[in-house]
């Protein structure tokens, strides 16, 4: 019976080419990314609402 496998990953693992970023470093990346994205989302929501209002003002007829 054929056994399913991800040959490339197994090969790279055998060659010790796959490692993980340390948990603390990984967490700090997670925090900085999350903070940045939350700030972006707040701005985006404001612009999104204002965009809809602005887009309802002018009739496009020309």
């Amino acid at each position: 019976m054929a056994k399913l496998k991800n040959e490339t990953i197994e090969k790279l693992r055998a060659e010790n080419k796959i490692s993980s970023i340390k948990e603390d470093d990984s967490y700090s990346i997670f925090v900085s990314t999350t903070n940045r994205m939350e700030k972006y989302a707040r701005e985006y929501n404001k612009k999104d609402k204002a965009s809809h209002l602005a887009a309802s003002k002018v009739l496009l007829t020309a």
């Binding site: 990953i9 790279l12 080419k17 796959i18 993980s20 900085s32 989302a41 612009k47 602005a54 020309a62």
Partner: protein, 511 residues
């Protein structure tokens, strides 16, 4: 069936103007002078060696729909038939259309068609014109296939749907909706082409007065209609003096550019103090990679460890966009800050793009701005080792199918890296951020990229792959905290930039 049957004629393009004038005079009873402007504008752009084939009567699905829903309800007689003029890149004769051995030749030479409808002053109706019919076509844009039967032979052309407005059943706003849906409907099975009566029916729920004759739509109504037709629309408006909550010009322009780079036709609402007008932006003119002078552009500063990177948006290098404008021939070329550059009328001077609607696939939950922000945050956080301090950044979304097919055949990435990416599970659509620099871009090469799940708006759950000279970093949001970020140390050489969203005009009359 008409007793007289179908009248037709072959003629060179040099006789187009006269032929159309005679035709509208004889069949629509118009003064022949009334067609001057429309035909001449198109003629100036078309190649001089084209040959034409006119047939009348021709039933055009869009005009016939308008006819039965509006024109036939008027007291005055309006003709219900159109004429169709097909274009060929070489001389074609009647005998070719009756001999199967010539069918391939005709197909190769076919450049699309325009329809002539009885709707003064805008008589050019539904058209599908190949960019190869133009004298100049130094642009990249999105096209769809159109299958037509001309003189009994089935022919195919790649083009973008165009029509002028008839000013009564369809104004610019309805024309843009029709054009976008004609594009999506003929290209993807998820959507259907629509006709003017369907637009009216869909918007009737939002309307508090009669809809015909049309008096236009707002950008918000266009967005609503496209959403009702199955697209996941997003709406963006540019900052005004009295409204600081909107998108600043630079951000607005870049967002528009990212969607255009994604091969998505964008509906733009333009305004000046006299008029409001809707257009579809479908691509851009070529960017000469040898002439990019970074000192002319404003980079985004990114802090990486102890140094600063200058991130230059590729879309800033775009000078002109390709526009489907129902007052102009197809593939009108105009810059972002002067979309009505080619108009003669004073009424259209100084127009600016105020809003745009991005008709996305309805499960793309991460929009362009979010994708950009996420990519920048990873660029700041990961150890990527991208050389130099000036990075050129190209952002677009694409289907993972297209990406994987292009990656496997054309991108020329290291074989292990290719396998790692090809064996990664991906959603239907991904955002792709490509990193290159001033030197590499001249060879259309890149040295890094970030692949993001376009169906995940929450960065906490976003699976991300970053390819850089240091190897591949994989963010597995659902992995154990110890293995959230895996680094696969593979040497990444420069690779070819993915370029499959926008198409160039091709040889032999085909894109």
């Amino acid at each position: 069936m008409s007793e007289q049957g179908i009248f037709s004629a072959f003629f060179p393009i040099s006789e187009l103007e006269l032929t159309v004038k005679d035709f509208v005079c004889e069949n629509f009873k118009y003064f022949h002078q009334t067609v001057d402007q429309q035909i001449n504008r198109l003629l100036k752009l078309l190649r001089d060696d084209i040959n034409c084939y006119i047939e009348y009567p021709y039933v055009d699905k869009v005009y016939r729909n308008s006819y039965y829903n509006f024109y036939s309800t008027k007291h005055n007689l309006t003709f219900r038939d159109c004429a169709r003029i097909s274009f060929f890149s070489s001389l074609v004769m009647q005998k070719y259309f009756r001999d199967e051995k010539y069918f391939n030749i005709i197909e190769k030479e076919y450049l699309g068609f325009i329809t002539i409808r009885p709707t003064l002053p805008n008589i050019i109706g539904r058209s599908m014109l190949s960019p190869n019919s133009y004298k100049e076509n130094n642009w990249m844009c999105c096209y769809t296939n159109s299958n037509e039967v001309v003189n009994g032979v089935r022919l195919n052309v790649q083009a973008f749907p165009h029509s002028s407005q008839d000013k009564e059943t369809i104004t610019c706003a309805e024309t843009t909706i029709w054009s976008v849906m004609e594009y999506f409907g003929s290209k993807y099975p998820e959507y259907k082409p629509i006709l003017p009566s369907k637009i009216i029916e869909t918007l009737s729920h939002q309307s508090f007065e009669r809809q015909l004759p049309s008096h236009g739509l707002t950008a918000e109504q266009i967005s609503y209609a496209l959403k009702e037709f199955g697209l996941g629309t997003r709406l963006y408006s540019i900052q005004e003096k009295n409204n600081g909550n909107l998108y600043p010009e630079e951000e607005f322009r870049r967002l528009l550019g990212y969607y255009i780079e994604s091969g998505i036709p964008i509906v733009a609402a333009i305004e000046n103090k006299y008029i409001g007008h809707a257009i579809v932006i479908i691509g851009h003119t070529f960017v000469d990679h040898n002439k990019i002078n970074l000192s002319h552009y404003k980079p985004t500063k990114i802090k990486v460890n102890d140094h600063t990177l200058n991130l230059y948006d590729y879309v800033d290098f775009i000078t002109d966009y390709v526009v489907i404008d129902d007052n102009m021939p197809p593939y009108n070329i105009a810059p972002f800050n002067n979309p009505t550059k080619n108009y003669n009328s004073e009424h259209f001077k100084n127009c600016v793009i105020k809003n745009f609607i991005a008709p996305l696939y309805n499960k793309i939950y991460l929009e362009a701005g979010g994708a950009r922000e996420l990519i920048i945050s990873y660029l700041e956080a990961f150890d990527h080792n991208l050389p130099g301090k000036d990075i050129i950044f190209k952002l677009f979304y694409t289907s993972s199918r297209s990406f994987k097919a292009e990656l496997n055949g054309k991108m020329n990435l290291n074989i292990d890296a290719t396998n790692v990416i090809l064996n990664s599970t991906m959603p239907k659509f991904i955002w792709l951020g490509i990193f290159t620099n001033k030197k590499l871009i001249k060879e259309s090469k890149a040295n890094g990229m970030v692949i993001i799940d376009a169906t995940e708006p929450n960065n906490r759950d976003s699976r991300i792959l970053m390819v850089s000279p240091n190897g591949i970093t994989v963010n597995n949001p659902h992995a154990d905290p110890k293995n959230k970020l895996d680094v696969i140390s593979i040497r990444i050489e420069n690779f070819n930039i993915f370029a499959n969203n926008l198409k160039k005009a091709g040889k032999n009359g085909k894109t």
